[in-house]
Protein backbone atom coordinates (compact mmCIF):
# COMPACT_ATOMS: atom_id res chain seq x y z
CA UNK A 1 0.00 0.00 0.00
CA UNK A 2 1.33 3.37 -0.94
CA UNK A 3 -0.43 6.60 -0.18
CA UNK A 4 1.92 9.29 -1.37
CA UNK A 5 3.01 8.43 -4.90
CA UNK A 6 5.59 11.20 -4.85
CA UNK A 7 7.34 9.50 -1.98
CA UNK A 8 9.59 6.51 -2.45
CA UNK A 9 10.39 3.98 0.25
CA UNK A 10 13.89 5.45 0.30
CA UNK A 11 12.44 8.79 1.45
CA UNK A 12 11.44 7.26 4.77
CA UNK A 13 13.49 8.85 7.50
CA UNK A 14 15.52 6.88 10.00
CA UNK A 15 17.42 8.03 13.03
CA UNK A 16 19.34 6.45 15.90
CA UNK A 17 17.48 6.53 19.21
CA UNK A 18 18.76 5.80 22.70
CA UNK A 19 16.61 5.17 25.76
CA UNK A 20 18.42 4.84 29.05
CA UNK A 21 17.36 4.60 32.69
CA UNK A 22 19.72 4.02 35.54
CA UNK A 23 18.09 2.63 38.67
CA UNK A 24 19.84 2.44 42.00
CA UNK A 25 18.28 -0.42 43.85
CA UNK A 26 18.67 -1.43 47.46
CA UNK A 27 19.84 -4.99 47.57
CA UNK A 28 18.22 -6.18 50.79
CA UNK A 29 20.19 -8.31 53.25
CA UNK A 30 20.48 -11.51 51.23
CA UNK A 31 21.39 -10.21 47.77
CA UNK A 32 23.59 -7.65 49.54
CA UNK A 33 25.50 -10.45 51.24
CA UNK A 34 25.76 -12.32 47.94
CA UNK A 35 27.22 -9.25 46.20
CA UNK A 36 29.55 -8.59 49.12
CA UNK A 37 30.68 -12.21 48.73
CA UNK A 38 31.39 -11.68 45.04
CA UNK A 39 33.51 -8.68 45.89
CA UNK A 40 35.45 -10.95 48.24
CA UNK A 41 35.76 -13.64 45.57
CA UNK A 42 33.20 -15.99 47.10
CA UNK A 43 29.91 -17.32 45.77
CA UNK A 44 27.22 -17.63 48.44
CA UNK A 45 23.97 -19.54 48.43
CA UNK A 46 21.01 -19.58 50.79
CA UNK A 47 20.06 -22.69 52.74
CA UNK A 48 16.35 -23.45 52.73
CA UNK A 49 14.63 -25.20 55.67
CA UNK A 50 14.56 -28.35 53.53
CA UNK A 51 18.33 -28.18 53.21
CA UNK A 52 18.52 -27.08 49.59
CA UNK A 53 21.07 -24.45 48.60
CA UNK A 54 19.73 -21.69 46.34
CA UNK A 55 22.27 -19.78 44.22
CA UNK A 56 22.06 -16.84 43.77
CA UNK A 57 20.40 -16.68 47.16
CA UNK A 58 16.81 -15.50 47.55
CA UNK A 59 15.28 -14.15 50.75
CA UNK A 60 12.59 -16.81 50.68
CA UNK A 61 12.51 -20.45 49.63
CA UNK A 62 11.25 -20.31 46.04
CA UNK A 63 9.20 -23.48 46.63
CA UNK A 64 7.75 -23.13 50.13
CA UNK A 65 8.14 -19.33 50.60
CA UNK A 66 9.73 -19.96 54.00
CA UNK A 67 12.48 -17.65 55.08
CA UNK A 68 15.92 -18.96 54.17
CA UNK A 69 18.54 -19.76 56.76
CA UNK A 70 22.23 -19.05 56.79
CA UNK A 71 24.27 -18.27 53.70
CA UNK A 72 26.88 -20.82 52.74
CA UNK A 73 29.76 -20.66 50.30
CA UNK A 74 29.42 -22.94 47.30
CA UNK A 75 32.04 -24.10 44.82
CA UNK A 76 33.47 -21.91 42.08
CA UNK A 77 33.09 -24.69 39.53
CA UNK A 78 30.06 -26.56 38.34
CA UNK A 79 28.15 -28.09 35.49
CA UNK A 80 26.51 -26.34 32.54
CA UNK A 81 22.87 -27.41 32.61
CA UNK A 82 21.67 -25.53 29.51
CA UNK A 83 23.21 -22.89 27.29
CA UNK A 84 22.49 -20.61 24.38
CA UNK A 85 25.11 -19.26 22.00
CA UNK A 86 25.27 -15.48 21.59
CA UNK A 87 26.87 -15.19 18.15
CA UNK A 88 26.55 -11.40 17.93
CA UNK A 89 27.13 -9.87 21.38
CA UNK A 90 25.42 -6.56 21.97
CA UNK A 91 27.19 -3.57 23.40
CA UNK A 92 27.42 -3.72 27.21
CA UNK A 93 26.94 -7.48 27.30
CA UNK A 94 29.44 -9.30 29.54
CA UNK A 95 31.88 -10.19 26.75
CA UNK A 96 32.73 -8.32 23.56
CA UNK A 97 33.17 -11.55 21.59
CA UNK A 98 30.74 -14.40 20.89
CA UNK A 99 29.94 -16.30 24.08
CA UNK A 100 27.38 -18.62 25.65
CA UNK A 101 24.69 -17.69 28.14
CA UNK A 102 24.57 -20.67 30.46
CA UNK A 103 22.80 -21.97 33.54
CA UNK A 104 25.61 -23.23 35.74
CA UNK A 105 24.90 -25.60 38.63
CA UNK A 106 27.74 -24.87 41.00
CA UNK A 107 29.18 -27.62 43.19
CA UNK A 108 27.20 -27.65 46.42
CA UNK A 109 24.24 -25.76 44.95
CA UNK A 110 20.80 -27.11 44.12
CA UNK A 111 19.80 -24.40 41.65
CA UNK A 112 21.63 -23.22 38.56
CA UNK A 113 22.86 -19.65 38.14
CA UNK A 114 22.73 -17.69 34.91
CA UNK A 115 26.12 -16.48 33.74
CA UNK A 116 28.26 -16.52 30.62
CA UNK A 117 30.81 -19.02 29.37
CA UNK A 118 33.77 -17.84 27.33
CA UNK A 119 34.22 -20.52 24.69
CA UNK A 120 35.78 -20.66 21.24
CA UNK A 121 32.46 -21.49 19.60
CA UNK A 122 29.19 -23.34 20.06
CA UNK A 123 30.99 -26.59 19.23
CA UNK A 124 33.03 -26.11 22.41
CA UNK A 125 29.83 -25.99 24.48
CA UNK A 126 27.77 -28.89 25.79
CA UNK A 127 25.23 -29.47 28.53
CA UNK A 128 27.03 -31.34 31.27
CA UNK A 129 30.45 -29.76 30.64
CA UNK A 130 32.33 -28.58 33.72
CA UNK A 131 33.18 -24.92 34.01
CA UNK A 132 34.94 -22.75 36.54
CA UNK A 133 34.65 -19.07 37.42
CA UNK A 134 37.16 -16.55 36.09
CA UNK A 135 37.21 -13.56 38.43
CA UNK A 136 38.07 -9.97 37.81
CA UNK A 137 41.16 -8.83 39.73
CA UNK A 138 40.29 -8.22 43.41
CA UNK A 139 40.91 -4.48 43.11
CA UNK A 140 38.37 -4.15 40.30
CA UNK A 141 35.54 -6.01 42.01
CA UNK A 142 32.68 -3.81 43.19
CA UNK A 143 30.02 -6.23 44.44
CA UNK A 144 28.36 -7.02 41.12
CA UNK A 145 27.53 -10.12 39.08
CA UNK A 146 30.21 -8.98 36.63
CA UNK A 147 32.83 -9.46 39.36
CA UNK A 148 32.82 -12.93 37.87
CA UNK A 149 34.10 -12.05 34.42
CA UNK A 150 32.80 -15.32 32.99
CA UNK A 151 33.03 -19.08 33.35
CA UNK A 152 35.48 -21.12 31.32
CA UNK A 153 35.83 -24.83 30.66
CA UNK A 154 37.44 -26.47 33.68
CA UNK A 155 41.14 -26.86 33.14
CA UNK A 156 41.15 -24.19 30.44
CA UNK A 157 41.78 -21.26 32.77
Amino acid sequence: MFYFPAMAESDVLRAPHVIEYTYTRSTGPVIGAFLTGLRDGKILGATTPAGRVVVPPTEYDPITSEEVGELVEVGQSGVVRTWSWAAHPLKDQPLDRPFAWALVLLDGADTAMLHVVDAAGPEAMSSGMRVTARWRPAGERIGHMKDIECFVAEGAS
Binding site: M1, F2, Y3, F4, M7, D11, V12, L13, R14, A15, P16, H17, V18, I19, E20, Y21, T22, Y23, T24, R25, S26, T27, I31, G32, A33, L35, T36, R39, K91, D92, G143, H144
Partner: protein, 162 residues
Amino acid sequence: MSEPVTMLETPIKIEYEFTAGLAQSRYLKGISEGKFLGQRCPKCTKVYVPPRGSCPTDGVPTTDEVELGNTGIVTTYCVVNVPFQGQSIEIPYICAQILLDGANIAFMGLIQEVPTAEIRMGMRVEAVWVDKKDLGPTMASVKYFRPSGEPDAAYETFSEYL
Protein backbone atom coordinates in the same frame (compact mmCIF):
# COMPACT_ATOMS: atom_id res chain seq x y z
CA MET B 1 35.87 -1.39 50.79
CA SER B 2 34.95 -3.62 53.72
CA GLU B 3 31.47 -2.08 54.04
CA PRO B 4 28.83 -4.58 52.99
CA VAL B 5 27.15 -3.98 49.63
CA THR B 6 23.66 -2.52 50.09
CA MET B 7 23.01 -0.72 46.80
CA LEU B 8 23.25 -1.77 43.18
CA GLU B 9 23.14 0.32 40.02
CA THR B 10 21.15 -1.33 37.28
CA PRO B 11 21.39 0.69 34.08
CA ILE B 12 18.89 -0.18 31.40
CA LYS B 13 19.75 1.05 27.95
CA ILE B 14 18.41 0.39 24.51
CA GLU B 15 19.94 1.77 21.32
CA TYR B 16 17.95 1.34 18.18
CA GLU B 17 17.19 2.85 14.81
CA PHE B 18 13.83 4.55 14.64
CA THR B 19 12.06 4.35 11.29
CA ALA B 20 9.57 7.17 10.95
CA GLY B 21 7.38 5.54 8.31
CA LEU B 22 5.88 7.30 5.30
CA ALA B 23 3.43 9.59 7.10
CA GLN B 24 5.79 10.82 9.80
CA SER B 25 8.59 11.21 7.25
CA ARG B 26 6.31 13.55 5.27
CA TYR B 27 5.57 15.41 8.47
CA LEU B 28 9.24 15.74 9.41
CA LYS B 29 10.10 16.91 5.90
CA GLY B 30 7.43 19.57 6.30
CA ILE B 31 9.00 20.53 9.63
CA SER B 32 12.38 20.89 7.90
CA GLU B 33 10.68 23.43 5.60
CA GLY B 34 9.11 25.28 8.52
CA LYS B 35 5.54 24.04 8.13
CA PHE B 36 3.17 21.65 9.87
CA LEU B 37 1.73 18.98 7.57
CA GLY B 38 -1.27 16.93 8.66
CA GLN B 39 -3.28 14.24 6.93
CA ARG B 40 -7.05 14.11 6.53
CA CYS B 41 -9.24 11.04 6.91
CA PRO B 42 -11.36 10.62 3.75
CA LYS B 43 -14.21 9.23 5.84
CA CYS B 44 -14.57 11.42 8.93
CA THR B 45 -12.59 14.37 7.43
CA LYS B 46 -10.60 14.83 10.64
CA VAL B 47 -7.06 16.12 10.23
CA TYR B 48 -4.34 14.40 12.23
CA VAL B 49 -1.03 15.98 13.15
CA PRO B 50 1.51 14.48 13.40
CA PRO B 51 0.00 12.05 10.90
CA ARG B 52 0.35 8.31 11.43
CA GLY B 53 -0.87 7.36 7.96
CA SER B 54 -4.27 6.09 9.00
CA CYS B 55 -7.35 7.25 10.86
CA PRO B 56 -7.56 5.71 14.35
CA THR B 57 -11.37 5.94 14.27
CA ASP B 58 -12.13 4.66 10.78
CA GLY B 59 -9.06 2.54 10.21
CA VAL B 60 -8.58 3.82 6.67
CA PRO B 61 -5.48 5.43 5.13
CA THR B 62 -5.37 9.20 5.52
CA THR B 63 -4.91 10.11 1.87
CA ASP B 64 -4.96 13.92 1.76
CA GLU B 65 -2.10 16.02 2.95
CA VAL B 66 -3.07 19.31 4.61
CA GLU B 67 -0.80 22.20 5.46
CA LEU B 68 -1.78 23.62 8.83
CA GLY B 69 -1.37 27.08 10.21
CA ASN B 70 1.47 28.29 12.36
CA THR B 71 -1.01 29.25 15.08
CA GLY B 72 -3.28 27.34 17.40
CA ILE B 73 -5.02 27.10 20.75
CA VAL B 74 -3.75 25.91 24.13
CA THR B 75 -6.34 23.29 25.06
CA THR B 76 -4.76 22.13 28.32
CA TYR B 77 -1.41 22.74 29.96
CA CYS B 78 0.86 21.82 32.82
CA VAL B 79 3.35 24.05 34.60
CA VAL B 80 6.42 21.95 35.34
CA ASN B 81 7.99 22.89 38.67
CA VAL B 82 9.72 19.62 39.50
CA PRO B 83 13.31 19.03 38.43
CA PHE B 84 14.15 15.62 37.02
CA GLN B 85 17.20 13.91 35.60
CA GLY B 86 17.94 14.95 32.04
CA GLN B 87 15.80 18.11 32.20
CA SER B 88 16.91 20.48 29.46
CA ILE B 89 14.65 23.47 30.14
CA GLU B 90 14.88 25.74 33.14
CA ILE B 91 11.92 25.32 35.53
CA PRO B 92 9.22 26.50 35.85
CA TYR B 93 8.10 25.97 32.28
CA ILE B 94 4.82 25.24 30.55
CA CYS B 95 4.02 22.12 28.63
CA ALA B 96 0.76 22.40 26.71
CA GLN B 97 -1.54 20.53 24.39
CA ILE B 98 -1.83 22.72 21.30
CA LEU B 99 -4.59 22.44 18.74
CA LEU B 100 -3.21 23.88 15.50
CA ASP B 101 -5.64 25.79 13.32
CA GLY B 102 -7.07 23.27 10.87
CA ALA B 103 -6.17 20.22 12.96
CA ASN B 104 -8.55 17.88 14.77
CA ILE B 105 -6.09 16.65 17.34
CA ALA B 106 -3.86 18.51 19.77
CA PHE B 107 -0.17 17.82 20.16
CA MET B 108 2.29 18.62 22.90
CA GLY B 109 4.40 21.74 22.81
CA LEU B 110 6.54 23.97 24.99
CA ILE B 111 5.18 27.45 25.76
CA GLN B 112 7.58 30.33 26.37
CA GLU B 113 7.52 34.13 26.50
CA VAL B 114 4.64 34.13 28.95
CA PRO B 115 4.72 34.17 32.76
CA THR B 116 3.53 30.79 34.08
CA ALA B 117 0.72 32.53 36.00
CA GLU B 118 -0.77 33.87 32.77
CA ILE B 119 -1.10 30.64 30.82
CA ARG B 120 -4.73 29.60 30.31
CA MET B 121 -6.94 27.28 28.32
CA GLY B 122 -7.99 28.87 25.08
CA MET B 123 -4.88 31.06 24.77
CA ARG B 124 -3.89 31.62 21.16
CA VAL B 125 -0.28 30.73 20.42
CA GLU B 126 2.10 30.70 17.48
CA ALA B 127 5.08 28.51 16.71
CA VAL B 128 8.56 30.01 16.95
CA TRP B 129 10.97 28.23 14.64
CA VAL B 130 14.75 28.06 14.68
CA ASP B 131 16.62 30.12 12.08
CA LYS B 132 15.96 28.96 8.52
CA LYS B 133 19.50 27.64 8.12
CA ASP B 134 19.05 25.45 11.22
CA LEU B 135 15.76 23.85 10.14
CA GLY B 136 15.88 20.07 9.96
CA PRO B 137 13.62 17.00 10.05
CA THR B 138 13.42 17.11 13.84
CA MET B 139 11.00 18.61 16.36
CA ALA B 140 13.95 20.67 17.59
CA SER B 141 13.16 22.89 14.57
CA VAL B 142 10.21 24.24 16.56
CA LYS B 143 11.78 26.18 19.40
CA TYR B 144 8.52 26.70 21.28
CA PHE B 145 5.12 28.34 21.05
CA ARG B 146 4.35 31.79 22.38
CA PRO B 147 1.20 33.91 22.75
CA SER B 148 0.18 35.26 19.36
CA GLY B 149 -1.64 38.24 20.88
CA GLU B 150 -4.98 37.22 19.37
CA PRO B 151 -8.05 37.10 21.64
CA ASP B 152 -8.58 33.81 23.50
CA ALA B 153 -10.59 31.12 21.75
CA ALA B 154 -14.03 30.38 23.17
CA TYR B 155 -14.21 27.19 25.21
CA GLU B 156 -16.79 25.64 22.84
CA THR B 157 -14.33 25.87 19.96
CA PHE B 158 -11.92 23.42 21.55
CA SER B 159 -13.96 21.56 24.19
CA GLU B 160 -14.18 18.55 21.86
CA TYR B 161 -10.41 18.16 22.02
CA LEU B 162 -9.94 17.91 25.77
